[in-house]
Assembly symmetry: C2
Homo-oligomer: 461 residues x 2
C-alpha cells in the first residue's frame, strides 16, 4: 500500500512537476473542506495542480491504474461536500487553470477554464457589454465548481441556472480521453446531450477542463422594489402573480422577518422601513427589474408596485442603487449570517412555486414538532427555499431534514435546487429517491467511470 502511494506520488510529479504535487503538511487547511457546515475536514493523500487538460488526463490514467480516488476542486465554496476529498484521494485543484480564454462578442459566448471565478468573469464580460447572468451568492466561486453543482442564484427566475448557460465542455473521462461536447450554438440534435449530463454531476462522471458559456447583452439600468408583507403565506401567494404579470423580474426573493433582521443587522444596513411597518411585517419580497431604457424601467417599477399592493403588501419601497446593492449583498451573505448565528445545517429544497404556501406551513409544523428553529429566505420565483436549521442533536436534525425533504418531494419538489447532494445530503437522497432512478444513475456512472475513481461516495455510494 505504501509502495502504491509512493509510486503514485512519483507519477504525479512526473505529470505536473514536483512543485505542483502537495502531500502531508504541505497541504493547506483550505484543501481539506468546502463550506458545508456538517462535514469533517479531511486531508487528501495528494493535491495536484495541473495546468492543462493533457495533465488532467494523465493524472486520471494514473489514478485508474492505481485505483486512487480523484476529487475535483474549484474554489471550495460548495455547500454539499462534493469537493471534500477522502484521505486516500488525489485532490485535483484547478487553481492554475484560471484563464478566461475568450469573450466572443459575435456569438455571445465566453470560453473559460474551470478555475476562473465568477468575479473574474464578471470583469471580462462587463468590458464587452455582456453579462454571464448566473449569480450564486459567492462571487469567489469557480466556474468549474458552478458547472459541477449546477449552481443557481438570485437571477435564475429570469435567466435560468448554470445548466442553461453551459453550451459546451471540454472534459476528461475517467479513462483518460479528452472529449469536447456542444459548442458555440444554443441547440443541437446530434446524439445524447453529454454536456447536460456532466453539468451537475458533482465530479462523478468527468473532470471539466473548459466550458463554453452563453452570455447575454448587459442591461443598462436596474431598479429594486422592497415590499413588506404581513405574513409568509401572503408573500407565497403573491409570487406566481408577479411572475405571471409578464414583467420579467431579474430577481424575486423572499426573506422572512428573522432572516431580514439578521442580515440587515450583520450588514449594518438601514432600509428606511418605519417601525410600525417593520413590526407588522413577517416577510419581505425583493423584486429587481432591469431594462436598457430608463423610461420603460420606471413604468415597470410602477406596475410592479401597484401589483404588490393589490397582492397584500403593507407598503412598497423603491430602493436607491446603493441601498439595493447593499441589500442584495446582505442577502448573498445570508449563509454566512446563518453560520455566524450558529446554524447547524442549511438546505435548499426546490418545489413548484405554487406550492410555497403549503410548504411554508409544513416547515413551521416540522420545526415546532421537533423544537427546532428553522428560518430562511430564498429564490421565490423558482420555488427554491433556503432554510437554516438550528438543532444541535444530530438525530433530531436528521429527522427534521428528512421531513423537510420528504414534504418538499410530496409537493412535487426535489431535495436540492442548486447546492447539490454531495456527501452531506446523500443519505436523504438514497432514502427518498425512486430506487429505479438510483439504479439507472448507478449504471450511467458505471458507463462513464468503470473503475469508480471519480469522487466515490459523492451522490451515490
Amino acid at each position: 500500500m505504501a509502495d502504491v502511494v509512493t509510486e503514485t506520488g512519483t507519477g504525479l510529479a512526473e505529470i505536473v512537476g514536483a512543485d505542483h504535487v502537495l502531500t502531508g503538511d504541505a497541504i493547506g487547511e483550505d484543501y481539506t473542506h468546502d463550506e458545508t457546515l456538517t462535514a469533517e475536514p479531511t486531508r487528501p493523500a495528494f493535491v495536484v495542480r495541473p495546468e492543462n487538460a493533457e495533465q488532467v488526463a494523465a493524472v486520471l490514467r494514473l489514478a485508474a491504474e492505481t485505483g486512487t480516488p480523484v476529487t475535483a476542486r474549484g474554489s471550495g465554496t460548495g455547500l454539499c461536500g462534493s469537493a471534500n476529498p477522502s484521505p486516500e484521494a488525489i485532490l485535483v485543484s484547478f487553481e492554475r487553470m484560471n484563464a478566461v480564454l475568450e469573450i466572443d462578442t459575435d456569438n455571445h459566448v465566453a470560453v473559460v477554464q474551470p478555475g476562473v471565478t465568477l468575479a473574474e468573469l464578471e470583469e471580462h464580460t462587463r468590458a464587452a457589454g455582456l453579462v454571464y447572468p448566473v449569480y450564486p451568492g459567492e462571487l469567489s466561486a469557480s466556474l468549474g465548481g458552478n458547472v459541477g453543482t449546477n449552481a443557481g442564484g438570485m437571477r435564475a427566475v429570469k435567466y435560468g441556472v448554470t445548466r442553461h448557460h453551459v453550451l459546451g465542455l471540454e472534459a476528461v473521462l475517467a479513462t483518460g480521453e479528452i472529449i469536447r461536447t456542444g459548442g458555440r450554438y444554443v441547440k443541437a440534435s446530434t446524439g445524447y446531450d453529454l454536456t447536460q449530463l456532466i453539468v451537475g454531476s458533482e465530479g462523478t462522471l468527468a473532470l471539466v477542463t473548459e466550458a463554453v458559456l452563453k452570455l447575454q447583452p448587459r442591461m443598462a439600468n436596474q431598479a429594486t422594489v422592497l415590499a413588506p408583507f404581513p405574513d409568509l403565506a401572503t408573500v407565497a401567494r403573491a409570487v406566481p402573480r408577479v411572475v405571471g404579470s409578464g414583467v420579467g423580474p431579474l430577481i424575486l426573493e423572499y426573506i422572512d422577518a428573522l432572516t431580514m433582521g439578521a442580515i440587515t443587522y450583520t450588514a449594518d444596513l438601514s432600509l428606511g422601513v418605519p417601525d410600525e411597518i417593520r413590526d407588522a411585517a413577517q416577510a419581505y419580497l425583493v423584486v429587481m427589474l432591469e431594462n436598457n431604457a430608463t423610461e420603460r424601467l420606471d413604468q415597470d417599477v410602477e406596475a410592479v408596485a401597484t401589483l404588490l399592493t393589490e397582492l397584500g403588501a403593507l407598503e412598497n419601497y423603491v430602493l436607491d442603487g446603493s441601498a439595493a446593492r447593499k441589500l442584495i449583498e446582505a442577502r448573498e451573505k445570508a449563509f454566512f449570517t446563518a453560520k455566524g448565528a450558529g446554524a447547524d445545517d442549511i438546505i435548499d429544497t426546490v418545489l413548484p412555486r405554487s406550492a410555497l404556501p403549503e410548504y411554508f406551513a409544513k416547515v413551521l409544523e416540522i420545526a415546532q414538532g421537533n423544537q427546532t428553529l428553522v428560518v430562511g429566505c430564498g429564490h421565490a420565483g423558482d420555488g427554491n427555499v433556503h432554510l437554516a436549521v438550528f438543532q444541535k442533536d444530530p438525530d433530531v436534525r436528521h429527522r427534521v431534514l428528512h421531513e423537510l425533504f420528504a414534504s418538499g418531494m410530496r409537493l412535487g419538489g426535489a431535495i436540492s435546487g442548486e447546492h447539490g447532494i454531495g456527501h452531506e445530503k446523500k443519505r436523504h437522497f438514497l432514502e427518498l429517491e425512486d430506487p429505479n432512478k438510483i439504479a439507472l444513475m448507478r449504471r450511467i456512472k458505471q458507463a462513464f467511470d468503470p473503475s469508480g475513481i471519480l469522487n466515490p461516495g459523492v451522490l451515490l455510494d
Copy 2:
C-alpha cells in the same frame, strides 16, 4: 420464429386489447415512414396503440422477453427516420395518449401526453394567456416526437428549443419500470439530469409517456420586418449585430433568393417588394419582434429597421399582420416546397452564428464542385442552416452531405440543429464524430437499454 411472432401478437392483444394491435394489411401506409425524403417505407410487424404508461411498460417487458425491437411514433412528421420501424418491430403509436392533462397557470406549466400535437397545445395555452413558444414548422407534430428529436424552429433565437422547455418527464425504461424525472420547477441539483438525457435521444433510451412543459406569458403584439440584402454574406454578417443589439427578436430567419421565390410562388404570396429591389436581392432577413405594449413594439421596430439599413439592407418593409403571417407560414412549408421541387435530401447543420459567412461560401464551393444545387433558408439567429440538396446520384449526394457536415463541424458546428440523426444521417454521424464520444454514447445506451430493444439502428449501430 413464427411462434415468437404469434406469441408476441397474443401478448400485445392482452395488454392493449385486440382492437389496438394492428398487423399485416391492417397497418396503414402512414405508419410505415416519417417525412424523411431518403428512407424506404417499412411495414412493422405490429402497431400497438397503448392508452397509458402501464400498458407501455407491459409492451416493453414483452418486447424485452421476446427480443423484439420497439419504435415510438408520434405524428410521423420527423425528418431523420427515427420513427421509421424495422420489419420485425413493434411500432408504439401514441395516438390515443393525446390529452392535455393540465395547464397550470400558477407555475406556467403544461402537462401533456406524448400524442398531443403542437396545434392542440397552442389552443389550450392561448385560452390561458400563455404560450408554448417552441415552434417547429409543422404544427401537426406531436409533443412526444418533439421531445424525442429535441425539435427547434423559428423562435429558438428568443426562447430556445424543446430541451429548454421540458422540465420533467414520465418515461418507461426498456426494462419496464416507469420513472418520473424533474418536475414543475426550472432547476434542481439532485442527481444526474435524466430529463435532459432522454430529450433528443430519438426513442433509443426510454419511451416518454408524459411531459411537463414550461410555458411563457403570451405577448399581445407582434411586428415583422422584411429586409432584402444584396448577398448572403451581408445577411450573415448582420445576424450577430441584430442579436447583439439587445432587442431580443422572436424570429430571425434568413431566406435565400431562390427559396424566397419558391415559397412565395407556392403560397401565391406578394410581399410588395418592387421589381428593382427584388432583382437586386440575393437574400432576405425576416425579423419578428413581440411586446405587450404597442408603443414599445413600434420603437423596437424602428430601431431594428434603422440597424438593418446600417448593416446593408437594400430596404426595409414592415409587414402587416396578414402578410407577416402568410410569409411565416410559407417559410414553415419550405420543406414541402423543396420536396415538391424535387429536392433529394435536406439537412440542418448548426454552427456558431459568426461562422455563417464562411459556411455559406463553403456551401457554394461544395455545390459547384459537385454540380449539385444547394439552396436554403434557416434560423440565422441560432446558426441553424436548412439546406435542400438537389442531386439524384446517391454517391455524389453522400459526398456532398459529408462535405457539408464536415465543413460545418470544422467551423465548430454539429450535424443537426433540430432534425436529429435517426437512420438517415447516422452514417455521417458515425464517420465524423469523435470515436470516444460514440463509445461513451454506446455505454450510456447500454445503461438504459441492456437488451437493445429501443429503436436499434437509430443514432448508433
